[in-house]
Symmetry: C2
Subunit: 234 residues, 2 copies
């Protein structure tokens, strides 16, 4: 099977299978980004999170917070209140840590050039820790990641280490980060729309210019070629 057919098969399998995440569906704030990407034949999303404020209760004495040893006291994909966090902290019996985790998305790409293009768009929208992974089987995954974080220990052995005023301040900081995260997602959405328009326009112009009278039968004729993608890099 050639690379293109294999990609089409992977995409079909991925989009048809059950969503196995804890939540079981795509987060509200990024449904549009995810469906925009999945509507392009060069891409499909394999996982995503719109960004969240979480409160984790970890095991004390553990040098590293491992997800498997943690209880999730609170999760919100929206802004939250200080009261939300105080109520959740009441259930803590180990080492609680408040985290803001920004938007993250894994995008499988048909070709390396397609990954390069989305990588460029992501960096440009403020997702500076984005990067590409190329696996042995030829799977090309572009990970969209931000540097925007927050990780604050709040209790030890079930005992709160800070005062309520501090939690109120932290809530503000976390909500500001959520807001900035939303702005970056919006910026990347606009950039993607723009790139899509440019590539459709270029393909049309190219077709009008060349009017080829033969088909190579690779189903590839509607995809921007390497030159088109690299044109967009400055």
């Amino acid at each position: 099977m050639d690379g293109n057919s294999l990609f089409i098969q992977w995409k079909k399998q991925c989009l048809n299978k059950l969503d196995l995440s804890k939540k079981g569906s795509v987060d509200e704030g990024i449904e549009h980004v995810v469906s925009l990407l999945n509507s392009c034949e060069e891409y499909f999303t394999t996982s995503s999170c719109s960004g969240r404020i979480i409160l984790i209760d970890g095991v004390s004495q553990s040098s590293d917070v491992q997800k498997q040893n943690c209880v999730w006291l609170f999760v919100s994909h929206q802004k939250c209140t200080s009261d939300d966090l105080m109520s959740a902290l009441a259930g803590c019996c180990g080492d609680a840590v408040l985290k803001f985790e920004p938007f993250v998305l894994h995008l499988q790409c048909r070709r390396l050039e397609d990954a390069q293009l989305m990588h460029f768009v992501s960096i440009n929208s403020g997702f500076r820790n984005s990067g590409v992974t190329v696996g042995k089987t030829g799977k090309i995954i572009m990970a969209v990641r931000s540097t925007h974080g927050l990780e604050v220990p709040l209790s030890h052995d079930g005992k709160l280490l800070v005062q309520q005023e501090y939690i109120a301040f932290l809530t503000q900081v976390a909500n500001q980060k959520m807001e900035e995260n939303r702005r970056r997602i919006h910026r990347s959405e606009e950039e993607k729309e723009e790139r899509k328009k440019i590539s459709v326009y270029k393909r049309r112009r190219k077709r009008e210019r060349h009017q080829p009278d033969c088909s190579h039968g690779d189903g590839d004729s509607s995809v921007p070629d390497l030159d088109d993608c690299l044109d967009l890099f400055t």
Copy 2:
């Protein structure tokens, strides 16, 4: 100029130029990793930090902590004491934030397969946010990044928001992260040594098997080929 000669030229230029970082030299804890990588003809490092505990004084009312608006109150590439942080906090007049930033390294790679190999080694050593960037000019950069962080707001408008006992607890947490960071660097160093041994052994075996009587003149004969690299991916 072919890709290989261009890479050799880039490497020469990069390793000969002045170190323009604030510190002006490679951090002590990673000199060995950096020189090991630079001794391989497939790679050279373009920037690195061994991991650090920093205290930043940011401008209040700013929704995002931008480096250019910040004063660095404290930086340590080693473990630190609670007194170090308390003394540094005395100089704060805005919004102070304590951060632990783990090991980060940017590695320019000759070919995509070389980047894949080091990406695999990095993920395997715990640097899960590592990724590859391919630029328009053909530069292939592998970024080694960890998920291991800490980002704690400590003061607002110059006023400390937490108690001294909390700073003492945070110091412990930051030092534990520094320790875990050191372990991961060590693990990746061992992996790299191992890979280097395997690839030297394979090249030797291949040369003994084939004993070619002509040279292609591309200076490439001592580099593991794609099959060698991909053999290492499981």
